[in-house]
Amino acid sequence: MKKPTYHIKSYCHIRENTVSLNGVELFVGNGPNFPVFIKSVYKKFKVDYPKFFKMDNLSKLAFMAAEVLLTKENLGSGVDNNIALVFANRASSLDTDRKHGASIEDDNSYYPSPAVFVYTLPNICLGEISIKHKLFSENSFFIFDGFNAEHLFHYSSSLLDLNKAEEVLCGWVDLDENNYEAFLYLVSKDVGTKYSVKAINSLY
């Protein structure tokens, strides 16, 4: 059976203080650290979503990358956008895990925070994006030692093969102490760059 071909419609990067869409730089921040930088990104793109400030760093990063990409796609409200989310990274939710860990380390100041604990799962960022864009869709979060285009390619293609999704928002969203990197792209059956492992790696 011949496998159908899919296409990359658009892609977005957030790394090194820079936000870019389809390879074009949209914003360069000069924050001294990630929280300041990502807040400036939020302001720049005029998101107006107070829940953003409750998110942990990984969710903020994933949320803003999805925001930049999906805003361009002009998702219709009131319709079901069956866009699956397939994300991967290296550090899982360790950035927030360490925070929760610190809050329970000392018996004399043992105050675990529910608002921190809830983010000690990497897939929470998928939930945040689903809520914002009303995506009732397939979600999965994977962990690898490094960027793994092959996995992203096969897994997202399988969702399209099996008609589990119309499109797939796919990519790498990693945050570990001061290092952060988001690379998301949208795969669909429409026209665009022909979808392949090679194409993913060249855009990454």
């Binding site: 929760h100 329970i104 043992y110 939930g127 009732f136 999965s140 030692d145």
Partner: protein, 388 residues
Amino acid sequence: MTKIYVSHNNIVSCLGLDSETVVNAVRDELSGLGLVEDAALLPVPFYASVLDREKLTVAFHNLNPKKNYTRLERMMILSLDEVVKASKLPLNDRVGLVIATTKGNIDALEGASPFPRERAYLAQLGMVLKDFFGFQNEAIVLSNACVSGILAISVAKRYIRRGVYDHVFVVGGDLVTKFILSGFNSFQALSTMPCKPYDEGRSGINIGEAAASVLVTSSKENLAEQSVEVLGEGTCNDANHISGPSRSGEGLYRSVHSAMQEARIDVKDIDFISAHGTATVFNDEMEAIAFNRLGLGRTPLNSLKGYFGHTLGASGLLETVIGMHSLHQNTLFRSLGYETRGTSQPLNVIHRTTPRELNVFLKTASGFGGCNTSAVFKRVKDWNKERR
């Protein structure tokens, strides 16, 4: 289309270190939950299902390990070892490995851990398992909250359908740790008694630890006698709240719908539901609403949390294995802890362990982040003939 089977299987839990022993305990309605008073884990006493350290150490020692392994690694290796051996498969490039866990070696972050903190990186867990068995492909680690265990079977199936692998070993596991207990306690989600899924007196979850493993394969050769075919599966987000279950059960409803559509079956074909049933007020209510919307309000249903507690990333896989044995033994297992209906919509919660001819079951799970996963499994009737 290629048929996909779930075949050889193992459970490592406080009820036993292999599926047979564990399933026998469930059939005898034995709960693995016990009261734990250990201030190093949680300042207040709590119920949990915890693996006997001594038993684990002895059993693991029999595998002649050459290095030091964390507690979770030992559980997972012990579990997977039995399945790898039973499969008799050479671990070549057509064989994949999927690992389901929420927190992996999170205890490596604790000051007292003898392991380096880097051990908490989940990819390291993948490498440890890959190296122990000599898998050729990099492990695919899935960390998708409490649906991880069942979603891992979906991932394995999809990889096989895609033609990347012929066989995929799936292992799921999570621990009872200070990290997890403190978090769920801050959520006021821990029950101070053995949990009571779907009961009117339910007051929260118990945490459990376990590892479970299965072989997912497209080959009919050497199938285990409890083998099932994966008829369909699906995952769907609630798009509602990151911790609170959806009031309408939207994501669960849609995930079951997706699985049933792929399976091309009707609600009447489902003999029982192995549901999530964490015993929190909101989760169980959400499930009752979703199942009734699907016309599954009368289908026999159980939650196995009364036996194992909530084993997080392992739960969906562990409960699938029990479901496979349930079909094979033609027995509906009692939903332990349930007495009186405690949901606004009716559910046919299994009151007592009952013999019944069974063919098909639905497995569901829901988790933080708003995720819901469902899968439909059908017993391989003449596994003896099919294995040829």
